[in-house]
Amino acid sequence: MATVTDFLRGPTDSQTASRRDLGHLSDEALLALVSRGDHAALGELYDRYGRVGYGLALRIVRDRALAEDAVQEGFLAVWRSAGTFLAQHGKPSTWILTLIHRRAVDLVRREERRRADPIDELAQPTGDATDEEAWLRAQRQVVQEALRKLPDEQREAIELAYYGGFTQSELAERLGQPLGTIKSRMFAGLRRLRELLAEAGLDVDAP
């Protein structure tokens, strides 16, 4: 296990070695190490989900510095609450991305920076795909396909809420629909999405 001193030395041979070792651990095992104050394990979790979290935060806040803040604050919450989370038996990747999402939404609401045009861009392939890992590409494909199967109004409500950072009341106003309608769209859509993802055998954990 990497010691504080190993960590401080930066990417030395010993740290590279310890990273390689951690690569075999499950997300849960890494969280257990994080809950005991292991920085290398936090780094490994960042290596697995930091890029997705950053892309997500950037999508929401549209500002590099704010997106970095959201990722940092999200991982700070991981660091602080890893032990508590483990006791609840959830899925680590979901939890980490949820924390980052929440921070990004908080930031965008505070900054009033939010933009309302997420829908068209969503289905676009992402920039330079060559440097992405295969598992990320595979994940994206599955989720995109599932999203496409949702009725338009459900997909719209979900996307505006998740990527736009809008509250349900704001959505109701924006879309000119009763709040109850927005709630049911999000609920039905997200539930259906869950089913579609399960059918596709999606596993949002890094391999």
Partner: protein, 204 residues
């Protein structure tokens, strides 16, 4: 019957009051709790659809440092007196009391350990008595204090006093190889660290 807000909660589409209300409901509703887990998995899957630009490499160190901005305390080999004096200006009275020394890594007979970037200095005497100077820490959150911890010989972290300003006179000895850490704790201190570590240093 699942609460209609569960999906909005999973999507972070509730305002602050609605979140509070839903969380209160969640405590007494196992059905919602079960349903929510699946909804959150679906919501988090949406993260994989966004563009994935490569974050700056600095973000990784920010994240890893986040947990505890760990600083290395190193035995000071060739101190330059002027910067050393400037660095300790925050606790001038103590410097005077201890008395600066020209002798390599010690001040007033105490071994001196410095962090790179002058974030912290630890002075340790022969019997393990120690003084910690932690610079550039933000003030503790309201109602909190910075408590100092000493971990030695693989044991648990033991309380060793509080930082007053940037200074703590440790109430516990610091044997060679021990780790000294600082965390924010509720006013009055805690028997063991509960807050995140804001500083952690080994004396190797």
């Amino acid at each position: 019957m699942t609460h209609p807000e569960a999906a909005a909660f999973a999507l972070d589409a509730l305002d602050t009051d609605e979140v509070t209300e839903f969380e209160r409901h969640l405590e007494s509703c196992p059905a919602c709790e079960d349903e929510l887990e699946g909804l959150q998995v679906a919501a988090a899957a949406l993260a994989f659809v966004v563009e994935l630009p490569v974050p700056r490499p600095e973000l990784r160190s920010r994240v890893v440092d986040t947990g505890a901005p760990v600083v290395a305390l190193r035995r000071r080999l060739r101190p330059r007196l002027a910067p050393a004096a400037a660095a300790l200006a925050a606790c001038a009275a103590i410097v005077l009391a201890i008395g600066p020394s020209r002798d390599g890594g010690s001040i007033g007979g105490m071994d001196r350990f410095d962090a790179r970037g002058s974030k912290a200095t630890l002075l340790v005497g022969e019997a393990g008595e120690a003084v910690l100077v932690a610079r550039r820490l933000p003030p503790p959150p309201a109602g909190m204090v910075y408590e100092v911890w000493v971990t030695a010989g693989g044991g648990a972290a033991r309380p060793a006093g509080e930082l007053h300003g940037s200074l703590a006179v440790l109430t516990r000895q610091v044997p060679r190889g021990a780790t000294v850490a600082v965390s924010a704790e509720p006013f009055g201190g805690s028997p063991r660290p509960t807050g995140p570590l804001v500083l952690q240093a080994t004396t190797t």
